[in-house]
Symmetry: C2
Subunit: 143 residues, 2 copies
DNA sequence: CCCGTTTCTTGACTCATTCAAGATTTCGCG
DNA sequence: CGCGAAATCTTGAATGAGTCAAGAAACGGG
């Protein structure tokens, strides 16, 4: 995806097109599940003088517009990804914190209907699988 | 549940029985989904001079032992509950952050098998439903 | 090209959580 | 019941992701 595409995305969401936002979009696209610090670094490769505040603002704006998704498993800092709207979920490694994408097994919107929703109007279901990634499995076995 | 029961729980998990731990267990039992600050307050009603550090340590020990569960939805501080091992999930209100329990609709361990696990060994699936609680629905309508 | 609004920069600040060192407590064992 | 090693707690300071605020700059409709 080129910057022109990112601009399209932004305009499509009625967001102003600014250098930091385009750079943030690119950084998030290239670094799936990256934490804020990693994204900040990646953004500065494209645009050396951005402030961290601009990155936070951009991420918040993009999240609100639904262009990026913010994920934050317990005990982890915020992470972001661009793959939105396709109902996929995440596996998180308990030892190293790595995150991988998982397409949900059951149909297309599984678990979206709770048995008793306590009167809540539910608009999204988020699934996080906890486990151990291949690398950490190997590391544990060889211990 | 009385303190004797909490002691049983602790001993059963091979944990030392200390005043702070018993107080923390009681506080978490009485305050489902409470954040750390609330728990700290509740603990001090039972045991006025505990340090916040002891509460953190106890919560960590109890979590590790599987007696309490730590939940931390995005944008929220850590919260704890004692209802463990029954595969229930949570609805979180986007406006006020309230959390309610939800028993999962589909069978007993839905979504536990991802379609492609990327080599991860998954041991737990956590589901978070995002929506709006009844109070906030009312508040929004009357705006 | 201009102007009002949004967004960015700079820098200070919050506050949940963690770290460290030394004092206490717990509990198995005699 | 009392000892001693190990775990746990107290105190107090430090960390660091994220937020807040005020003024400067950039965006884009007209």
């Amino acid at each position: 995806m080129g910057n022109a595409d990112y601009e399209q995305l932004l305009r499509g969401a009625s967001l102003r097109v600014t250098r930091p936002r385009v750079a943030v979009l690119g950084a998030v696209s290239d670094n799936a599940h990256a934490d804020t610090e990693t994204i900040l670094g990646a953004v500065r490769e494209r645009l050396p003088d951005v402030s961290h505040q601009a990155v936070y603002d951009s991420l918040a704006a993009l999240s609100a517009a639904g262009i990026v998704r913010r994920i934050q498993p317990s005990g982890s800092v915020a992470r972001y990804e661009t793959r939105v709207g396709d109902n996929h979920h995440h596996v998180v490694c308990r030892s190293c914190g790595n995150i991988a994408d998982v397409d949900c097994a059951v149909g297309h919107t599984p678990c979206l209907t709770a048995s008793d929703d306590n009167g809540f109007v539910v608009d999204e279901a988020e699934v996080i699988y906890w486990g151990t990634c291949p690398q950490c499995q190997a590391a544990q076995r060889s211990k």
